[in-house]
């Protein structure tokens, strides 16, 4: 029994029944399939988080974001600039207690190089309702390329606990059609 020593002193030499053996082989192969699905997706899939990260001082990161906001600001909402950077450019988003800064306005179908970092605590970038969730750490600049494929108004909420104001930390992200985008810039 399972609560007594094995009856057979040399239990390793016992054959495993073919039903059990078949299951072990199936389970092993399934593991390999899952493993290679993950690696396959890296080569051919569209949704992979990049490995690019830099160490950065929070103030230095904030300065880069402010420079971008100054250059491409199109309007303000409740005191927070709405920024419309050119397609393909670097866009910066700061997570700090308890807001996201600035508000980004992007064009549908265009790629942007995102730079995310947190100022004091860790924050969680959670883009809704797309449901893309990426972690921010203070002192680290997380860089990846993202291509919005839907237009409209999206929510960015924080899903990493960051103190007593955590539940108020929410912002917006606009994705506009290319034509409207041009008219806004003119």
């Amino acid at each position: 029994m399972a609560i007594t020593s094995p009856d057979n002193r040399l239990w390793w030499k016992e054959p495993i029944h073919r039903i059990e053996l078949a299951w072990i082989i199936i389970a092993f192969l399934w593991g390999l399939v899952m493993f290679f699905t993950m690696t396959f997706w890296h080569a051919f899939g569209q949704q992979n988080l990049s490995n690019t990260t830099y160490k950065v001082m929070p103030q230095a990161f904030a300065a880069k974001a402010e420079r971008m906001a100054e250059q491409y600001k199109v309007r303000e909402e409740l005191g927070i600039p709405v920024v419309h950077p050119p397609p393909g450019s670097d866009v910066y988003l700061i997570g700090r207690i308890w807001m996201w800064w600035p508000i980004l306005e992007l064009e549908k179908g265009q790629s942007y190089r995102f730079h995310l970092s947190a100022m004091e605590y860790s924050h969680g970038f959670s883009l809704q309702p797309v449901n893309i969730n990426i972690q921010l750490q203070p002192g680290y600049e997380h860089v990846f390329t993202m291509t919005p494929t839907d237009s409209g108004e999206f929510g960015i909420i924080c899903n990493e606990y960051c103190g007593f104001g955590h539940h108020t930390m929410a912002s917006r992200l606009y994705v506009v059609e290319k034509s409207t985008a041009r008219s806004t810039q003119e």
């Binding site: 020593s5 009856d7 057979n8 002193r9 040399l10 239990w11 390793w12 030499k13 990260t53 830099y54 160490k55 950065v56 230095a60 990161f61 680290y140 600049e141």
Partner: protein, 59 residues
């Protein structure tokens, strides 16, 4: 069971030889402890710490 036990007691070296390698591994808690601590320490902790330590400074 007792028969096996007696046999191994009387004829220790030979009996010990016949125990398969993997069974001897399973019967050695401290070897398992060593493996069980080393594998995650090397692959998870040390590898992970090296990755973080090698992150470049922002350009």
């Amino acid at each position: 069971m007792s028969k096996n036990g007696a046999a191994s007691g009387a004829d220790q070296p030979e009996a010990a030889e016949r125990i398969p390698f993997w069974q001897r591994v399973c019967d050695n808690p401290f070897l398992l402890l060593f493996i069980g601590v080393t594998v995650p320490t090397v692959f998870y902790l040390i590898w992970g710490i090296m990755e973080i330590a090698q992150i470049p400074v922002a350009p």
